[in-house]
């Protein structure tokens, strides 16, 4: 081994020789090598390729016959009403699912944080939707939400609510997908809220109680502000994830009825893998990325301003 290094070192420039003869360096690169190859081949190269693709008229899954067309994809995209409609649908999904999902899971986390007996059993139960498959979940909910014989409409009937054609009506299809998504992710978000809640020192509540604060006041002026980092994390990751929603749409509605649930990623998927318009679909995915990026920046900016206000 030592001999081999020496032979190599002689033929190489001095810097390289010193560098390579340090066994630590060598070991370090060998340890990260498999992951480095993986990340280059399946992440960096696709990333660069995607960028080049978006300037080409590429309609075949081969690497030939892809004429460079400059910004034509992006220009066409500006006036593409179906694409912008799908972006609007994603925004609608995000605007509904992020705040409602956060509120619902926070409410469960607050109850779970009361140190009741048996919370672990409940946590296990709340997690069943999180770990289950989206296809199985969609099959279950397609039957539960059936407009004629579904259990949901039956139960709503007890309260005098007329049957709703949940996934068949353009007005209610997206809210139905949002409800199912909230149901599926509530357990996951609850665990993150609980981690945040348990990081709040108990003494603060005792001090607030001595000062005469009631439960509602200590929630409003103590719990909520101290949960700000958790809320921020959930809002940012929630918006990023919701804008990219695909699987629920694919398994529940396939974008219908009347394109009312045709979200951006589902639209891109269809453009790329059903119409094989890879170049244009790549341009669309970069624009979507840009929109998500701007949404994240706005949230960062908003939080920074809020923090300054609190600190004066």
């Amino acid at each position: 081994m030592a001999q081999m290094t020496a032979v190599r070192a002689e033929s190489a420039p001095g810097l390289w020789r010193r560098f390579w003869s340090r066994s630590n360096e060598r070991a370090g690169y060998l340890f990260i090598l498999p992951s480095l190859i993986h990340i280059l081949a399946f992440l960096f190269i696709p990333l660069v390729l995607s960028f080049f693709l978006s300037f080409r008229d590429w309609t075949r899954p081969t690497f030939s016959d892809a004429p460079y067309i400059g910004l034509e994809n992006y220009e066409f995209l500006m006036g593409d009403r179906r694409f912008w409609q799908s972006m609007g649908n994603s925004a609608y999904y995000t605007a509904l699912s992020v705040p409602l999902g956060m509120a619902f899971s926070l409410a469960i986390a607050l109850v779970m944080n009361q140190k009741l007996r048996g919370v672990y059993l409940f946590r296990t139960l709340f997690f069943m939707p999180v770990v289950s498959s989206w296809v199985a979940v969609s099959i279950i909910w397609l039957t539960l939400l059936d407009p004629n014989v579904g259990i949901v409409n039956y139960v709503l009937g007890w309260f005098g609510i007329q049957p709703i054609n949940w996934l068949g009506d353009p007005r209610s299809a997206m809210p139905a997908i949002v409800l199912i998504s909230i149901w599926k992710s509530a357990g996951f978000n609850m665990v993150i809220w609980l981690a945040g809640l348990q990081a709040i020192p108990q003494e603060l509540y005792e001090a607030a109680a001595i000062d005469g604060a009631n439960r509602l006041q200590s929630f409003r002026f103590l719990t909520l502000p101290l949960l700000a980092p958790t809320s921020f994390f959930m809002a940012v990751t929630g918006v990023i994830g919701s804008f990219q929603v695909f699987t629920p749409v694919y398994v529940l509605t396939r974008g219908g009825p009347l394109d009312s649930t045709n979200t951006a990623v589902f639209h891109i998927y269809r453009r790329a893998f059903q119409e094989f318009d890879f170049g244009y679909a790549s341009a669309q995915s970069w624009v979507l990325f840009g929109v998500i990026f701007i949404a994240t920046l706005i949230q960062l900016f908003y939080v920074r301003r809020r923090r300054e206000e609190i600190q004066f």
Partner: protein, 283 residues
């Protein structure tokens, strides 16, 4: 300090349990409906008013899945793909994590930051070119096409690196003085001491791979390459135009997809929840 139990406290507890039971019902009843419907004779699944339990338990749906439909093949595919992916992630991510946590080499921190930024790249950007690369490699409709892109993850490396950083440096130094190679230190000291974190990553990789839909949807072209999730999705997607979908059969398929995930989840619950809490706190 002894706290007196006041009527308000009792009322709060009762209210708390009431909420927990209602939410638990919302979470669990759909799955009960799935299991009971899977035992219904096709054609009898709906009645008005809805009836949760079947009149008589009928096992024929499970027989149909495995005898008349290729669900056994789907099951084998999913098991093979998932096991290789989990093993690959544990191996490749832990090797890299050791390098980043405990070895010094030029550009180490720069490369690590690059890894971290890849976690922010949305999947839909790389999806199309990734598919084209797999096509070019001739890996469409193959096991390597289904497995290799998921065999390492920046998240896994990040998770394990954090855990490796907590191992005292003295262990490593002592082993080096005794003449142990880096590989020996990694295998004999770092892997055994980080069992829980490895378990966390393993459970995450298992859940993600077992229930993945999008990637198999693009890569598995022929029937015999399909995974359970994909097979079920196709089966769900082509109901006969003249007939109602066979819901009891679909429910039986759902049970088959979900059972292994639920078993793994219940056995390894602790690691799974740790991982989520960790990813949330670290941001």
């Amino acid at each position: 300090m002894v706290t007196k139990i006041t009527p308000q406290m009792i009322a709060a507890r009762i209210a708390g349990y009431a909420i927990l039971f209602i939410v638990a019902g919302m979470m669990v009843v759909p799955f009960m409906w799935m299991v009971t419907t899977s035992f219904k004779t096709p054609g009898t699944e709906f009645s008005y008013p809805p009836q949760i339990l079947p009149n008589q338990f009928d096992f024929q749906n499970y027989g149909t899945l495995f005898n008349n439909l290729p669900f056994f093949r789907y099951f084998l595919n999913t098991t093979a793909i998932t096991l290789v992916t989990v093993f690959g992630q544990l191996l490749i991510c832990s090797l890299a994590a050791y390098g980043f946590a405990r070895l010094n080499f030029m550009g180490r921190d720069t490369i690590f930051v690059l890894y971290l930024t890849t976690m922010m790249i949305p999947f839909q950007i790389t999806l199309i070119p990734l598919y084209l690369i797999i096509t070019q490699l001739g890996w469409v409709n193959t096991y390597q096409g289904l497995i290799v892109p998921g065999i390492s993850s920046a998240f896994g490396i990040f998770l394990l690196r954090q855990s490796f950083l907590n191992i005292p440096r003295d262990y490593q130094d002592a082993a080096r003085i005794d003449g142990a190679s880096e590989l020996t230190i990694f295998i004999r000291i770092f892997l055994p001491l980080n069992g829980p974190t490895l378990a966390t990553l393993g459970v995450f990789a298992f859940m993600g791979t077992w229930t993945d839909l999008l990637w198999p949807l693009l890569i598995a072209r022929s029937e015999e390459m399909r995974t359970l999730e994909l097979g079920l999705a196709y089966f769900n997607a082509r109901p006969n135009a003249f007939l109602q979908p066979n819901w009891p059969l679909l429910m039986a398929g759902s049970v088959v997809v979900m059972l292994p995930v639920l078993v793994v989840y219940i056995v390894a619950q602790r690691y799974f929840i740790q991982g989520i809490a960790l990813s949330g706190v670290k941001g």
